[in-house]
């Protein structure tokens, strides 16, 4: 086992390079890691599951994880389960986008304003799930931290 602090949640984004929703997963996970829940989360690199990252596999086996996928192929959730252990929470960007009525969000290379707002919404959802898994009272993420870079 890697020597990691207890009570951390591992975040695994698909980072899908072909779709703008993949870019949303990256931005959302980074916002949670850097701004919303920096003391409660770590990121796990999805490709390392395949490339032999034993630390990644061990973490996901013994600690709670949240998969964040861009589309319904759910690469992050399914690959994590395949190589390590089933994530305790699973978020799919296209589902949040549909529920919240997002339309075009830019390109995989550059998200537009709508895409950046969607990333914020996904980040809030990840923070909410993090609190749930750690059995903590939810914090008000929307007032504490505005959009990155704004």
């Amino acid at each position: 086992m890697p020597n990691l602090p207890r009570k951390k949640v591992g975040l695994i984004s698909c980072s899908g390079e072909e779709l703008p929703e993949g870019t949303v997963t990256r931005r959302a996970v980074r916002k949670v890691l850097e701004t919303l829940r920096p003391d409660d989360t770590v990121t796990l690199c999805l490709p390392l599951f395949l490339a032999g990252g034993e630390g990644e596999r061990a973490f996901a086996r013994y600690y709670p994880t949240i998969s964040v996928d861009g589309c319904d192929k759910r690469c992050a959730a399914l690959a994590t389960e395949k190589y390590s252990s089933k994530p305790l929470a699973s978020i799919v960007v296209t589902e949040i986008a549909k529920e919240s009525g997002y339309g075009a969000i830019g390109t995989a290379r550059r998200l537009d304003e709508s895409g950046l707002r969607l990333a914020d919404a996904v980040a809030d959802k990840i923070a909410e799930e993090t609190d749930r898994l750690l059995k903590r009272k939810p914090k008000d993420t929307t007032r504490r931290a505005g959009r990155e870079g704004s």
Binding site: S13, C14, S15, G16, E17, E18, L19, G22, R26, R27, V29, R30, T43, C45, L46, P47, L48, F49, L50, A51, G52, G53, K73, C75, A76, L78, A79, K82, A108, R109, E148, G149
Partner: protein, 139 residues
């Protein structure tokens, strides 16, 4: 030329923890969208990690370009595990050594040096693409 030759798959690493991973991702976009749009296409590494059949078919048996941020070479390994016949490796950590003045920072938003590093990486990848294309080895 019929213009129907298959495009060369380009797979960047999905590194989310370091600037060099972000530069690898940006380099893939520079290569595929700006430098060689008619010869290359991106294949998502996450699909290869999952073992997605369609993604595997796109890379199996041909030549492909892996752009990796760190020495763990996840993209190159992902391509090899997916049946690529030959993997051409570009390592951002090697490119940055050849451009010692660059200090890349940021992950979601690379700084100017990060974008320059991505461009330099893409330039090196473009040369490989041209060689592969000239040999016709990707078909």
């Amino acid at each position: 030329m019929s213009g129907t030759r298959p495009k060369i798959p380009v797979v960047p690493c999905s590194g989310i923890g370091k600037s060099l991973g972000a530069a690898a991702r940006e380099a893939a976009y520079v290569l595929v969208e700006d430098l060689r749009p008619d010869k290359t296409r991106i294949v998502a590494l996450s699909l290869l990690v999952l073992g997605d059949e369609e993604a595997r078919r796109e890379v199996a048996g041909g030549e492909a370009v892996a752009i990796d941020g760190c020495k763990l070479e996840c993209a190159a390994k992902g391509l090899a595990c997916s049946g690529a016949a030959k993997v051409h490796k570009i390592a951002v950590f090697d490119v940055v050594r050849r451009h010692r003045g660059l200090k890349p920072e940021g992950v979601c938003d690379l700084n100017e040096d990060g974008l320059r590093l991505a461009r330099a990486t893409a330039d090196e990848a473009a040369k490989i693409v041209d060689e592969v294309d000239a040999e016709g080895g990707h078909a």
